[in-house]
C-alpha cells in the first residue's frame, strides 16, 4: 500500500497543477492517471489561453491565471510554448457590435477592463486578411496560446521535482472512505491518503460518485483540425462574436482551426469519432471570414474527450457530502487557460480552507434540488 497526504485522480492540467502547488508546499502527493499525463483534453486541446469572452463568474480566476501564464516557463523551468499574441473576437455586423457593447457594460460594471472594443479600421490593422465586410470586434491584449501537452507536463515534471509521485497507466477502480482515510483500489495496487482530489475530466462524474457527490456531467468530443505550414498571415488568436469560428497560427506556420463543433465521444472506449459534415461547416466559416484560407491544406483532424456541465461552468469545490474531498473538473472546453490558478486554488482549499476567490458559481451541488 502506498500512502500520501493527498491523492489526486486525473493527470490532466488541473490534476498536474494541483500536484505541483501541493508538492511545493511540502505536501506528499500521489497522482493516479489511467492513461498517460495529458492523454485527453489537456493534451489535445486547441491551446487557447484567453480571458476574452469568459463568463463573468470565471473572470477573476482567469485574470490571475493569465498573469501566472506570463511567467510560467520560468516558474516551472519548462517550455510551455506560451505566446502572448492577443486575441480578437470579430464582429461580422452591427448586431455583433451591439452584443459586444452590452457585454462591455456588464464587464465594466464588475470592474473588468481587459476587453476593448475596436472599430473596423483597427480590426483590419490587427487582422489584415479578415474579410473586408467585418465591422469591428473586441480585443484582449494578454491572451495567446500555448502547447497543451507540454504545458500539462511542465506542471507534472515540476511536481515530480518537488517529490510528487505520478502514477500513469493506473485506473481508479474503487474509492471509499474508511475512518479518516481515502482508500483507492487500482490494478496496480492500493493507494491511501487523507485527502482526495477529483480532477478526472470527462470521467469525473464517476469519481464524484465514489466520493458521494452526484453531478450532471456530460462529455463530448470538440473537434479540431490543423493545417500544414503556410506563410504567416495572422498574429492574434481569432474568434467571432456570433459564428463558430476559432483559429490561431503558430510560429511554425501551422493553423489550428477549432470553433466548438462536436463529434461523437465514446467514453468507455477512450475514443472519439468525428463529424465531418460539421468540420466542413467550420471550413466554410473559416474561409468566409478569411478568404486567404482557401489555400490552406488540412493535415490532421481530431477530437478530445472533454467534460461539460449544463451551465458550461466548471466544478471547483469541496465535496458536498464527504470530508477531505475536493473537485476540479467540468471545464466545458475552456479549462486549459485556468490550469495555473485552479491548481493554486485547489491547493489553497485543501491547505487553508481559503481559496481566495468567490467559488459559489462552481459548487458541486449547484444542481441539487432547491427548496424555497
Amino acid at each position: 500500500m502506498k500512502t500520501a497526504d493527498v491523492l489526486i485522480i486525473g493527470g490532466g492540467i488541473h490534476g498536474s497543477s494541483t500536484a505541483y502547488h501541493l508538492a511545493r508546499e511540502g505536501i506528499s502527493v500521489i497522482l493516479l492517471e489511467k492513461d498517460y499525463v495529458a492523454r485527453h483534453a489537456s493534451g489535445v486541446n486547441a491551446g487557447g489561453v484567453r480571458v476574452l469572452g469568459r463568463d463573468l463568474a470565471e473572470v477573476p480566476l482567469s485574470k490571475i491565471s493569465m498573469q501566472m501564464w506570463q511567467t510560467l516557463d520560468s516558474e516551472l523551468d519548462a517550455d510551455t510554448g506560451f505566446r502572448s499574441t492577443s486575441m480578437v473576437y470579430i464582429a461580422a455586423n452591427e448586431a455583433d457590435i451591439t452584443t459586444l457593447k452590452q457585454r462591455e457594460a456588464r464587464m465594466n460594471a464588475a470592474g473588468h477592463t481587459h476587453e476593448r472594443i475596436i472599430d473596423q479600421r483597427e480590426l483590419r490593422e490587427l487582422l489584415p486578411y479578415v474579410h473586408p465586410s467585418c465591422t469591428g470586434g473586441a480585443v484582449s491584449q494578454q491572451d495567446g496560446h500555448a502547447n497543451p501537452y507540454r504545458s500539462t507536463n511542465a506542471f507534472r515534471l515540476a511536481a515530480e521535482r518537488f517529490g510528487a509521485s505520478i502514477v500513469e497507466g493506473t485506473e481508479l477502480r474503487n474509492l471509499r472512505r474508511v475512518g479518516s482515510s481515502w482508500i483507492a483500489q487500482t490494478p496496480k495496487g492500493t493507494f491511501e491518503a487523507g485527502t482526495v482530489v477529483n480532477c478526472a475530466g470527462a470521467w469525473a462524474d464517476k469519481v464524484a460518485l465514489m466520493i458521494g457527490d452526484n453531478v450532471p456531467l456530460n462529455h463530448a468530443a470538440p473537434m479540431l483540425m490543423i493545417t500544414a505550414r503556410m506563410p504567416h498571415f495572422v498574429e492574434p488568436v481569432v474568434g467571432a462574436v456570433s459564428r463558430q469560428l476559432s483559429f490561431k497560427q503558430f510560429e511554425n506556420g501551422t493553423v489550428l482551426i477549432g470553433g466548438g463543433a462536436k463529434g461523437f465521444a465514446e467514453r468507455a472506449a477512450n475514443k472519439t469519432r468525428l463529424d465531418y459534415e460539421k468540420l466542413a461547416n467550420a471550413a466554410r466559416t473559416t474561409i468566409d471570414f478569411f478568404p486567404i484560407m482557401t489555400r490552406a491544406a488540412i493535415n490532421r483532424m481530431w477530437a478530445g474527450l472533454e467534460a461539460y456541465m449544463p451551465d458550461n461552468l466548471p466544478v471547483v469545490s469541496p465535496s458536498a457530502n464527504a470530508e477531505n474531498a475536493f473537485h476540479a473538473f467540468g471545464f466545458s472546453a475552456h479549462g486549459f487557460q485556468l490550469g495555473p490558478i485552479i491548481g493554486k486554488v485547489t491547493a489553497d482549499m485543501i491547505l487553508t480552507g481559503q481559496p481566495g476567490f468567490d467559488l459559489s458559481a462552481f459548487r458541486v451541488d449547484r444542481y441539487d434540488r432547491k427548496v424555497l
Binding site: 498517460y36 501537452y149 465531418y276 466542413a280 471550413a283 482557401t294 491544406a297 488540412i298
Partner: protein, 469 residues
C-alpha cells in the same frame, strides 16, 4: 440509396475483388486515387509510356490482363478519387473535382497496399536519396530513369528495379546488397516448402543472375552504410570486404515493404505484430474480414502477400462479401474458396522463405547514430526523441505530442515504425506492448476548400461513370 460494396484501391486486390463481385452480379464502386487502375505494382501496365514495357518483366505484363478484366467487369471505377477517410460506420469521404463527397455503403473493402520500410541510415533524408519504389513509379508513370545510380539494400523489389534498369540499358553504378549471411541459413529451413513454388523461386534466381551477368559491381553482405554529401547525396560508403565507396548523384534504398498502416489504423481496426515480417498486420480472418465485420482488408495493406497473393485475397474477400450480402450461400463461398485458399497457402510458404532471406538487419531498421533524422517532416533526430522520452513521453503518441515527430504532412507514415521500435528498445519492452501512433483522417493533405465543398452522394454522377471509361 447506399452502395452494396465500395472498394478503396484499384491494385491487384481491389481489381480482383471487383471482378469476383461482378461475376455474381454485384456492381461495386471502386475508388482509386490513380489516373488508371493497377495500383503500384501494375501501374500503367495496360497503357505504358515505355516503348517496350515488356522489358519490365512478365509479372508487370500480366497486370495488363487483370486491368483489362477489371475494366470490362462493369464495376464503377472512379479514377482520381482520393479517399481521405474511411469510417468505422462505413462512411467514406473522398475528394474529386475540388470537392468532398460522402458515400455510405453496406460493405467496405480496403486495399491500401504497401509502403517501403524506412531505412534510416545516416544521410537517408538527403536530397537525391530515394526509394526503389520511387524509381519504379518514375519508370512506370513517366519513363524517367536515373543514370549511374546506386541501389542499396535487399529484397525482390530492389533486384527487380535493378534488372529493369539494366534491360532498358540504363547504367547502374552498383548494387550494394545488405542481405546478411545468416539469413541464408535461416531461410534454408523454409526452402523445401518454398520449392513447391519452383517457378517463383526460379524467377528470383534468374533475376539475380541477370544482374550478375550484366557485370555491374555487386557488393554482398554490406554493412555500415552511410550516405555521403552535405546538402545533397554524393555517394555511399559501406563495408563489404573492406571499406568501399561509390560516387553517385542518386541512391535508391530499399529493404522490403510493410503494410501501409494509416487508413487501417485510422479506421480503428485491430492490428497484431508479426515477428516474421517485422511489421504490424491487420487482424483478419481467412477472408480478410477485420475486427469490424463489414470492413475487409485485402492485399499488402493487411499483411505482405505480394501481387499474386493480393490477387487471390481480393477474390476471397469478395466471396465473403457476396455471402454477407446474401448473394451466395456460405456453402458456395466455402466451395469457391477452396482452390484460392490452397493457392494462397502455397504462396505463403514461399513468402516465409522470402521473409527469412530478406529479413532486414536491426542495424538498418533502427537508426544507429544519435543525430540521424527519424522524422523528416519535423526534423527530429534520435537524440531529440531520446530527450522527449527522458521527459516522460513513453508512449508513441505522447512522444509525438512532446516532439512533433510524426505530426508533419506524412502523418507518421515514415517515422511510425522507427518510433515504436526505438521506444521498445528504450523501454526494454516488446514493440507489441509499445503500440503505434493513433492515426486520424485525412489520409493525405486535404485542402480546406475541398472540405468546405461537402456533398453526400447516393448514386454515381454521370461524370464519375465517364471517368472509368
Amino acid at each position: 440509396m447506399a452502395f452494396d460494396c465500395v472498394i478503396v484501391g484499384a491494385g491487384p486486390a481491389g481489381m480482383s475483388a471487383a471482378v469476383t463481385l461482378a461475376e455474381h452480379g454485384v456492381r461495386s464502386l471502386v475508388l482509386d486515387r490513380g489516373a488508371k487502375a493497377g495500383g503500384q505494382i501494375y501501374r500503367y501496365a495496360a497503357s505504358s509510356p515505355l516503348p517496350d514495357p515488356s522489358k519490365l518483366g512478365p509479372d508487370y505484363m500480366s497486370g495488363a490482363a487483370l486491368i483489362n478484366a477489371f475494366e470490362a467487369c462493369g464495376a464503377d471505377h472512379v479514377a482520381g478519387a482520393d479517399v481521405w477517410h474511411v469510417g468505422d460506420d462505413g462512411r467514406i469521404l473522398y475528394s474529386i473535382d475540388g470537392e468532398t463527397r460522402q458515400i455510405e455503403t453496406r460493405e467496405v473493402l480496403v486495399c491500401p497496399g504497401a509502403i517501403e520500410r524506412p531505412m534510416p541510415i545516416p544521410g537517408w533524408t538527403l536530397p537525391g536519396v530515394m526509394t526503389a519504389g520511387a524509381a519504379q513509379v518514375m519508370l512506370k508513370t513517366d519513363a524517367i530513369v536515373a543514370e549511374n545510380a546506386v541501389f542499396a539494400g535487399s529484397g525482390p523489389l530492389l533486384y527487380l528495379v535493378v534488372a529493369q534498369y539494366l534491360r532498358l540499358g540504363v547504367k547502374v553504378a552498383g548494387l550494394v546488397d545488405t542481405t546478411p549471411r545468416r539469413n541464408f541459413l535461416q531461410a534454408a529451413s523454409a526452402a523445401p516448402a518454398a520449392l513447391r513454388s519452383a517457378s517463383l523461386l526460379h524467377k528470383g534466381i534468374s533475376l539475380l543472375s541477370e544482374i550478375r551477368r550484366a557485370g555491374i559491381p555487386v557488393y554482398r553482405q554490406s554493412v555500415q552504410l552511410k550516405l555521403l554529401g552535405q546538402t545533397r547525396v554524393s555517394g555511399l560508403s559501406f563495408y563489404s570486404n573492406g571499406l568501399q565507396q561509390i560516387e553517385a548523384d542518386t541512391v535508391f534504398l530499399h529493404h522490403g515493404v510493410i503494410p501501409n498502416p494509416n487508413m487501417t489504423r485510422a479506421l480503428g481496426l485491430d492490428h497484431v505484430w508479426n515477428e516474421d515480417q517485422l511489421a504490424w498486420h491487420v487482424k483478419t480472418d481467412l477472408y480478410g474480414q477485420s475486427s469490424i465485420p463489414y470492413i475487409a482488408v485485402a492485399g499488402d495493406g493487411g499483411a505482405i502477400v505480394g501481387g499474386d497473393g493480393a490477387h487471390i485475397e481480393g477474390r476471397l474477400a469478395a466471396l465473403n462479401i457476396l455471402m454477407r450480402l446474401e448473394r451466395i450461400s456460405p456453402e458456395t463461398r466455402d466451395r469457391l474458396s477452396r482452390s484460392p485458399v490452397g493457392e494462397l497457402r502455397r504462396l505463403s510458404q514461399f513468402r516465409r522463405f522470402i521473409d527469412r532471406l530478406y529479413r532486414p538487419s536491426d542495424a538498418l531498421r533502427l537508426p544507429q547514430d544519435e543525430d540521424t533524422p527519424v522524422c523528416r517532416c519535423e526534423d527530429q533526430s534520435v537524440a531529440d526523441l531520446r530527450a522527449g522520452f527522458q521527459l516522460g513521453a513513453r508512449d508513441p503518441n505522447a512522444l509525438k505530442s512532446r516532439t512533433r515527430c510524426g505530426m508533419g504532412p506524412c502523418q507518421g507514415r515514415q517515422c511510425g515504425p522507427i518510433v515504436s521500435d526505438l521506444l521498445a528498445n528504450w523501454r526494454g519492452e516488446h514493440v507489441s506492448d509499445v503500440g503505434y501512433y493513433r492515426m486520424r483522417s485525412p489520409q493525405r493533405l486535404l485542402s480546406l476548400e475541398e472540405l468546405s465543398r461537402f456533398k453526400t452522394v447516393s448514386s454515381l454522377q454521370p461524370r464519375a461513370r465517364e471517368a472509368s471509361r
